[in-house]
Structures are given as C-alpha cells and as structure tokens.
Symmetry: C2
DNA sequence: GGTTACATGTAACTAGTTACATGATTAG
DNA sequence: CTAATCATGTAACTAGTTACATGTAACC
C-alpha cells in the first residue's frame, strides 16, 4: 500500500487531481493500471490521515497547466458555448484531492526510504522532481548498488536451456539499467556545478505559504 | 496464485522436490523469494486438488540427477559414513512432492494460456522445456506481440524530466527483450528443421503414454 | 437513442506478508 | 555447546482484484 500511497502523493505533489484522472495518469506512467477498488479506498485513507484534503469540483476545475489536459477540456468547451455550469445542478461530480503539508512530509519520507523492490524504485523515481539534487543522487546510487548486488550473486549454472536464457535476459536488463543510471547520475552532477553552496531547490512545488489541515 | 501454482508445478515437472528446496530454487530463479506463508499453503492446496502427491522422505531421497544437487548431498555423506539413517527415528522431516498426470495437464494449461503480465511470462518461459517446439514458439511470439503493443501505444509526452527518463528506460528494456525474443525464436526454428512432419517432442516429460484430461 | 468515456464507490473474495511456533541437523 | 541452516507449518494482518451498483456527459 505504501507503493500506492507513494504513487498517488507523487502525482498530487505536482497538482490537485481527482480520482479518475489519477487513475489515468498512473496507467500511462507505470505498467498496468490500478483498479478502482484499490484507488478510491486508498484516497479515502489518505484523506482520513490528513495527507490530502478534498473539494467537490462542480464549477472550478483545478488550475490547469495546459488548456487541453485530459478530460479537463470539457468545462472549457461548455463555458465557450455559454451553457450554465455552476447553475442549480448539484451533480455531485468530481472530487479533487489536494496534498497537505503533512502529506508532503510523508511523501518525502517514502521517497528517501531505501527500497530493493523494482516497482518501488520506479515509483520513487517518478516523483524524483520533489527531491533535492543530493537526495536524488542518493536514490540513483542506491539503486545502482542494489542492481550490482543482484548481478554479483553467483547462481549455480542452470542446466535447463530456457531457464538459462531467462537469466541472460535478466542480467542484460540489469546491466542496461546500470548504464542508464550512470548517465542520469552524471547529468545530475553536471547541472549547476555545486559550489560549496548546495541544492537550491530547482522545482518549487506551487504553494508558498501553504495552509495545513 | 496461478503464478505460484505455475512456478511450483514447473519445477516439480522436472523432478520431485520438497518445500524448502522449491523455495530455494524459486529464489534463485526469479527475482525475490516466496514466503513460506505462501508456499506451504499453496503446496497443500495442490495436494488437495490432486495435482501433486506427497511422500515423507525419511530414508530415500528423490532420485537425483547429480550426486551433489543442493541439500540432497547430506544423505549420501551419511550413507558413506555408515550412520543408520532409516533407523527407528521417525523424525518427520522432509515432505517430497511429486507431480501427477492431472498436475501435468493443469501445468500445460497454465503454460499455454496467453498472459500479458511480465512475471507470468517469466514463469511460463522458465517451464518452456515442458512444451512442444510449436507451443514454445507461440509463447515467444505472443510475448513479442504484447511487447510491441506496449511500445506502440502513444503516451502524451511527459513534461517531467524524471518521468520521461523512466519511460525511456522502459522503452529500451522492452526493445531489448524483443531482440532477445527474436534470437530465441530463430533458434527454435533452426533446431531440427521441420519436414512436413512436425514436432517430435525433443524433451519427453518422463512418461510416454500420457493421458489427457 | 445508443454507445463510449467519465466518475465514484462498495462487497466479497483472493493472494500474499510478517510474525510466530517448533524442532532437527550440521559445522565449528 | 552453540550458531547456522534446514524444514514445516499456522494466525493475524495487509493489499489488491473482480464484480457489482449507480449515474452523468459527450459524441455520432
């Protein structure tokens, strides 16, 4: 569940979103999709714990980045046609979730917690924009270390053709990812050569004086 | 659970094994390990359903292939030292599981069932030695098709640096696997050029006159 | 007027983890 | 004799799926 929490908070740290939209973004981000039977209970849990706040979005769509972000174009079109949207139709539609300060703190904790699992790393890296550069380098180096360790363990050589081929694939895949990591780590070190001064957060997360629940 | 069933039966189709040994082989085969809290209940279930039979291995170790296969060397050493092993010590130790004919039929079903999931493919391919060459080629081609489909879907280009890098990694990984599949498929076609006569099973799975469910 | 996509949720079930409990055998 | 590893299992809990239930809005 920490994995779902992580993915959800990672997306909400960028901008407020509603459940259905979160589901879509998770689907295209990672492999496979979250079932609604997992998603909505998870969001309710995050709400209860105070990591997010909810608001019904009958009229105001969440402040969008681009005018055609997913399903959010609908309201725009309706407004253009002059159809009354905020009118006396209560239509309890979308519920928009906004991350809170405790939520950001929890996210930070989940992002800096070392993980051996492949999927957890992917989820962490997807939200790496919410880490400082040094934290991000730590994340990448920890991953590289984990992959090296996985490659290092000597398996008794496989008698079966297919099992041995499968191991080849896994080894190749891990080696390729280490190379990918090396490039990323190098890129992190290159951007803004750190004078003794370290880490001026390069992606400010939207709010300045955020209110806490 | 079908995944565990598949992995377990795949190993047992090679030779009878006990739970602990199965656990070890699974650990070195795929990534990560099965917990005993999942393993033993699964074996009990397979037993109840008649897919495996059990026998207490107080004296006779399962007919081994090599004299030093894993923990099985222990009995050999003891026999050499003349220590009485089968003696009046009931020592309810290892429980050896042997696959049955219904079990093989079930395994065959699990192996030929098309799967989109990455881990299911890995488990299927690990037991590919128990398929005919044509079935195996089907398995590989289905996987290739699934990967191509995954690559084909156009994602709206990612604004975030890290998410976009993550997608690169996934794409590279899928492309590398397709190449790997191509080699394997070519190799399958090369071995024993099929005259009009197709599929003389090159790895007979222990029995000759197998019954079909 | 029907199909598709949007949107949120619940209930029953399935699968798996962690922690516990127990004990045998082997190597130093 | 003691630690590590072998070996099997159970109970409580956690996480997730599938199927159901309901309704709106957009497109053709």
């Amino acid at each position: 569940m920490t994995l779902l929490d992580l993915s959800l908070l990672g997306l909400l740290a960028d901008q407020p979103l509603h459940g259905y939209e979160l589901s879509k973004q998770l689907r295209e981000l990672g492999r496979g999709s979250v079932s609604y039977g997992a998603l909505y209970p998870a969001l309710a849990r995050l709400d209860r714990k105070g990591f997010v706040t909810t608001a019904a979005a009958t009229t105001e769509p969440p402040p969008d980045t681009a005018p055609m972000t997913g399903s959010l174009g609908a309201e725009v079109a309706r407004l253009r046609r002059g159809t009354p949207a905020r009118a006396q139709r209560p239509t309890r539609r979308r519920k928009v979730y906004t991350i809170t300060e405790p939520g950001r703190a929890y996210l930070h904790d989940l992002l800096t917690r070392p993980a051996e699992d492949d999927r957890t790393f992917a989820a962490q890296f997807a939200a790496a924009g919410h880490l400082t550069r040094t934290e991000r380098v730590d994340l990448l180096e920890h991953r590289r270390h984990a992959l090296r360790a996985r490659l290092a363990q000597d398996h008794p050589r496989e008698a079966d053709r297919y099992r041995s081929a499968l191991r080849d694939r896994d080894r190749l895949s891990d080696e390729a990812e280490i190379e990918w990591l090396d490039h990323l780590i190098a890129a992190e070190r290159d951007t803004q050569i750190p004078h003794p001064v370290d880490d001026p957060v390069e992606r400010s997360p939207r709010t300045v004086g955020g209110s806490v629940s």
